[in-house]
């Protein structure tokens, strides 16, 4: 559905995209992740035609977006990271306005609008002013708006940011429904567990390049994820840190509240020995677990440039 080849975009001296490659298959629910400034929004804005690439090629359903921008517009629905709504319009009017922007008018527009509002659970709010809607409702309205011209590809930039857990759950269900209808969805988000749960494919972008792409299992297989040991300490954190600093198999130490995340290269016996050492030193350990590899750990490992939270880097590291 969407294919990006060697995409480059430079703003002044800042290289936003540095030869990005990306493939989103038909019917996929593609999670697009990366740290802030990695180039996600630039990629999305380039795909929807709001930015012109410096070089590279983008095709949507086989249509080159630079050569045939008009055709491309009817293939993409876009939900930005902001709501993009008019407060002084009613919900139905808002939908009809965007329907008219796509050349849909009259009964056809009304029917399409009603069907979409029903799909996102806003059919009873059609006569309400948009300003009276809750944040979650506004986001669902934006989703319905993006689907008004029935595009095969839906691109969403941080759609669940700032939503409460229930609304996020409802949103996820809608996305699953859309996938069931054969839509291809590209979703950019920082809520990694959520993406891991619903996405069929993941693309991790860092410093303008695609650093990992595929299903989560493929990525975990491809990237040798060294998942950290998570040690939860009730008392004696300083003593624990002293032991960890001196341990030859400890590579990194990151503190998060009462938890200590330890990059540990040893095997199960070494882990047991470390735990025994901590207990002997009267450190009150109430949690000691090596986490299973997941999207978050992959993300942290790939995008770790050694600057965040690491309080120790062993000489051998």
């Amino acid at each position: 559905m969407l294919k990006i080849e060697n995409l480059k975009k430079v703003f002044g001296r800042t290289v936003a995209l540095d030869g990005l490659n990306m493939t989103v298959e038909d019917g996929a629910l593609y999670g697009f992740v990366g740290p802030n400034g990695a180039g996600k929004t630039t990629t999305i804005k380039t795909v929807i035609g709001l930015l012109l690439p410096d070089s590279g090629r983008i095709t949507v359903g086989g249509v080159d977006i630079v050569q045939e921008p008009g055709k491309m517009l009817s293939k993409i629905g876009y939900v930005p990271d902001s709501f993009g709504i008019y407060d002084n319009l009613k919900v139905a009017e808002y939908m009809e306005f965007f329907a008219a922007c796509y050349g849909l008018t009259g009964l056809k527009a009304r029917k399409r609008s009603q069907a979409l509002l029903e799909q996102v659970g806003l059919d009873d709010k059609a006569d309400f002013y948009v300003e009276g809607l809750s944040r979650g409702m506004k986001q669902r309205l934006c989703l319905a708006r993006a689907l008004i011209h029935n595009p095969p590809l839906l691109i969403m930039d941080e759609p669940t940011a700032g939503l409460d857990p229930r609304t996020r759950y409802e949103f996820k269900e809608i996305l699953k429904d859309l996938r069931g209808q054969g839509k291809t969805v590209l979703i950019s988000s920082h809520i990694l567990p959520e993406l891991a749960e619903i996405c069929t494919d993941i693309g991790i972008v860092d410093q303008g390049r695609m650093v990992a792409e595929g299903s989560l299992d493929q990525i975990l297989e491809k990237i040798n994820v060294t998942t950290p040991l998570m040690i939860s300490v009730a008392e004696g954190q300083q003593a624990a840190l002293r032991i960890l600093r001196e341990h030859p198999m400890v590579e990194t130490i990151t503190i998060r509240d009462e938890d200590i995340m330890v990059g540990f290269s040893g095997d199960k016996q070494d882990e047991a020995a470390l735990l025994q050492q901590l207990v002997d030193a009267e450190v009150q350990v109430y949690g000691f677990v090596r986490e299973r590899g997941n999207l978050e750990s992959v993300f942290m490992q790939i995008t770790d440039h050694g600057e965040e939270g690491t309080v120790l880097i062993h000489e051998d590291y």
């Binding site: 993409i76 008019y86 965007f98 922007c101």
Partner: protein, 294 residues
């Protein structure tokens, strides 16, 4: 089927709902009516005191009310239009519109048309006040029609400037300031530059030569000079115009477009408006924006 521009339709619907529209109409006509009635009252008092009825004072009333309306339009229009595109940008709805089938021209013309609708409403609603002069006669419907045409051209020009600034500036405040600056430069700046150029020639050339040159044709872009030339044709009293345009006498004698100045100047101003609209469409091209937001 050709549909009404969606932006125009949406803007007029939202505008009609807003309390701002009746407030603007009320303020505009309120000021105009107050000025007209006060002027009329003063005139009647003078007649009572002197027992002299000067017909020219009725034409003076007409010219004064028309001038106030012209000034109010120049004051209102940049404020009304400067937020039209930048407001969409602030609401972050501009990118959404640009990803639909709407073209940039659709958006610009939709915005201009909706703003001009409001301005036409102001002009039409003020017609009864301007029509006070019909009580006494001396001004024909055709004359008033010409004044209204002058207003419309001024509205199109000032509106286009507002839309251009709104499309080019990142923020509404900047767009408003820039619109007022350009409108002031065209309206009064051109007059000032011409005046100074004539005075400069006065100092540097042989006596009498200065009145024939200067930058007379620069004034074709000034809505104020167009308005004054129309008023002079209808109500006489060309003192203001003569004071502002020192080479006017020479131009009249030489017949340099003065007879049909208003036609040429309106054509030039419409051309300028088209240029500003073209600029607005060009500066709205999102692919030309150099954003740092990644």
């Amino acid at each position: 089927m050709k549909i009404i521009n969606p932006v125009y339709r949406h803007e007029t619907r939202a505008g009609a709902r807003s309390f701002k529209l009746p407030l603007i109409v009320l303020a505009f006509n309120g000021v105009l009516a107050a000025v007209a009635l006060l002027n009329m009252y003063t005139m009647i008092i003078r007649v009572k005191l002197t027992a002299e009825l000067q017909y020219s004072s009725f034409l003076g009333l007409y010219a004064f009310v028309a001038a106030v309306e012209f000034a109010l339009l120049l004051l209102f229009i940049p404020a009304m239009t400067a937020g039209s595109i930048s407001g969409e940008r602030d609401r972050q709805t501009l990118d959404l519109m640009l990803t639909t089938r709407l073209t940039r021209s659709d958006i610009v013309f939709g915005k201009l048309a909706s703003n001009l609708s409001t301005v036409f409403l102001l002009i039409v609603s003020s017609f009864p006040i301007l029509g006070l002069v019909f009580i006494y006669g001396g001004v024909t419907m055709a004359d008033v029609g010409l004044v209204l045409l002058c207003y419309v051209v001024t509205a199109v020009l000032a509106g286009s400037i507002g839309i251009f600034c709104s499309a080019a500036a990142r923020r509404t405040t900047m767009a408003t300031i820039a619109s007022y600056c350009i409108v002031a430069a065209l309206t009064a700046g051109t007059v000032g530059i011409n005046y100074l150029s004539v005075r400069f020639l006065d100092m540097t050339t042989v006596s009498g030569a200065s009145g024939k040159s200067g930058l007379l044709y620069l004034l074709l872009g000034s809505p104020a000079v167009t308005f004054l030339s129309v008023m002079e044709r209808q109500a006489g009293g060309g003192n203001i115009l003569a004071a502002l345009v020192p080479q006017l006498e020479w131009a009249r004698e030489a017949g340099v477009m003065t007879e049909y100045w208003w036609i040429f100047s309106m054509a030039v101003q419409l051309f300028l408006a088209a240029f500003f609209l073209w600029g607005a469409v060009k500066s709205m091209n999102p692919r030309r924006r150099r954003r740092r937001r990644l």
